[in-house]
């Protein structure tokens, strides 16, 4: 059961560290709030990096990734602090 204090986030997974950090840089440049996190189980057994953005800016984040030609290999919704 989700705690009421938890907020909804979208998590993007990437195939390489290079892509994950390039995406982080692009999102920061676009002033999208973003945090680098370990890849959550919901995105498979990856051991790399994922990016977490507030769900409210998910569409904007996707637009930034497309404009930057960076492919997210996975996407999941999570609730977190």
């Amino acid at each position: 059961m989700s705690s009421p204090s938890l907020q909804p986030f979208t998590v993007f997974g990437f195939a390489t560290t290079h892509d994950a950090l390039s995406a982080e840089s692009a999102l920061i440049d676009a002033q999208v709030p973003v945090r680098v996190i370990p890849v959550p189980k919901a995105l498979g057994s990856l051991c790399g990096l994922a990016l977490r953005v507030p769900q409210a800016v998910e569409v904007r984040a996707c637009d930034v990734l497309i404009a930057s030609a960076i492919v997210a290999t996975g996407q999941a919704s999570v609730r977190d602090r």
């Binding site: 560290t17 057994s45 051991c47």
Partner: protein
């Protein structure tokens, strides 16, 4: 600029540039002190700092070299490793390659190994100035198809600058890949790989790019996919049984040289900011040295004629005084550091007729002055007089 000991006038930049520009050592120390995690492994703060250092350095190098997508630029332990990866990862028994006679052992030795495995190696002779004959390359390609044309961008012996843009066109027109050894060109010539069109271009980090030893770059054009030489960890999907095929991870298995990459990034940033003044100064000093050496009796200057383009490399042979003796006297008597011998380039020496004698190589770079050049000429006059 780090301090240079007063007694050393350093003319061995083609081997390794020294001293390094401001910021290189600091960047390396900073990487180990404040970004000491393992790049690509983990999301804790130190691992992220390490990963960001790698990303920033790769992007800096890509911008400087005109690489549109920095994923096409892989960090290597050296230019030699990059060339080995390209040659051994692209060529297979039955392939034919055309290679210039001016190549360094970084090309010659892996090709000799591949020849023993059934790759046919056809050599295109360079002329006495070290330049490859484009017409001969065209004729050789017209005679029978080749998988690749392989040529240096600039010679570590003669300083000759090969017409690599024309070679790219010729190779591609014949359906061949163009593989370029850029060890002596990067940092001394303006290089735009996005425009050049080479399929493979290898770069040394510690020469003209002014970075530390132990790091180089391998550029692979989109669609050029050599088999990786090394497989292992990389921080990506660990449950995949084989090496991930995505760049740059495919070619960077194992923990890389983070301090070296950080230093290279700082060096290339410096170079990008000072490129024009460095190029102008290098060429002026090279011309000054050429004029001084050409006036010494019995001394043959290898490579292009005076006034013709060359990277800041000037090699000489004296008719009576052995190369090793000259280098020894320069070092011990005058504090001048040069390199004598065959310079890991027996093919090039054979081409220029100096395989038996070797040569004395002066290679110029950041930190040298007109006074250093004049001192070298005075010393050469005394030693060869």
């Amino acid at each position: 600029m780090a301090a240079t000991p007063d007694h050393v006038r350093y003319f061995d930049h083609a081997a390794t540039s020294w001293p390094k520009p401001s910021g290189v050592i600091e960047a390396m120390a900073h990487a180990m002190t404040h970004a000491g995690g393992n790049p690509g492994r983990g999301a804790h703060s130190l691992a992220l700092a390490a990963s960001r250092t790698i990303l920033e350095s790769r992007d800096v190098c890509a911008r400087y070299l005109g690489v549109h997508d920095s994923r096409d630029l892989a960090f290597m332990p050296s230019c030699t490793v990059g060339m080995n990866l390209a040659l051994k990862g692209l060529l297979k028994p039955g392939d034919r390659v055309i290679v210039s006679s001016m190549e360094h052992n970084a090309v010659a030795r892996p090709l000799n190994v591949l020849a023993a495995q059934g790759v046919r190696i056809d050599t295109v002779l360079a002329d006495i100035t070290g330049l490859v004959d484009l017409g001969e390359v065209e004729r050789m390609l017209a005679h029978s198809p080749a998988r690749a044309v392989i040529c240096q961008h600039a010679s570590n012996l003669s300083g000759s600058i090969q017409p690599v843009a024309d070679l790219v066109d010729i190779a591609h027109a014949a359906g061949a890949l163009m593989i370029v050894d850029g060890a002596q060109a990067a940092g001394h010539l303006k290089i735009d790989l996005g425009t050049l069109g080479a399929d493979v271009y290898t770069v040394a980090g510690h020469k003209g790019l002014l970075g530390p030893q132990g790091v180089g770059l391998l550029y692979l054009a989109p669609g050029v996919e050599p088999v990786e030489l090394v497989q292992g960890g990389g921080g990506g999907p660990s449950d995949e049984p084989f090496q991930p095929q995505l760049r740059p991870d495919r070619y960077e298995a194992g923990t890389g040289n983070l301090p070296g990459v950080a230093g290279l990034g700082a060096a290339v940033s410096f170079l990008a900011a000072h490129e024009n003044e460095i190029f102008v100064a290098e060429q002026a000093l090279t011309q000054r040295l050429l004029e001084g050496l050409e006036a010494i009796d019995g001394l043959r200057v290898l490579g292009p004629m005076t006034g013709e383009p060359r990277v800041p490399v000037v090699s000489v042979v004296h008719e009576r005084v052995d190369a090793d003796r000259i280098a020894f006297e320069l070092d011990r008597g005058y504090g001048i550091a040069v390199r004598a011998g065959l310079h890991c380039a027996p093919w090039a020496h054979k081409t220029l007729g100096t395989l038996e004698t070797g040569a004395v190589r002066f290679s110029l770079g950041l930190g040298l002055t007109g006074d250093d050049v004049d001192a070298a000429v005075v010393a050469m006059r005394a030693i060869c007089g």
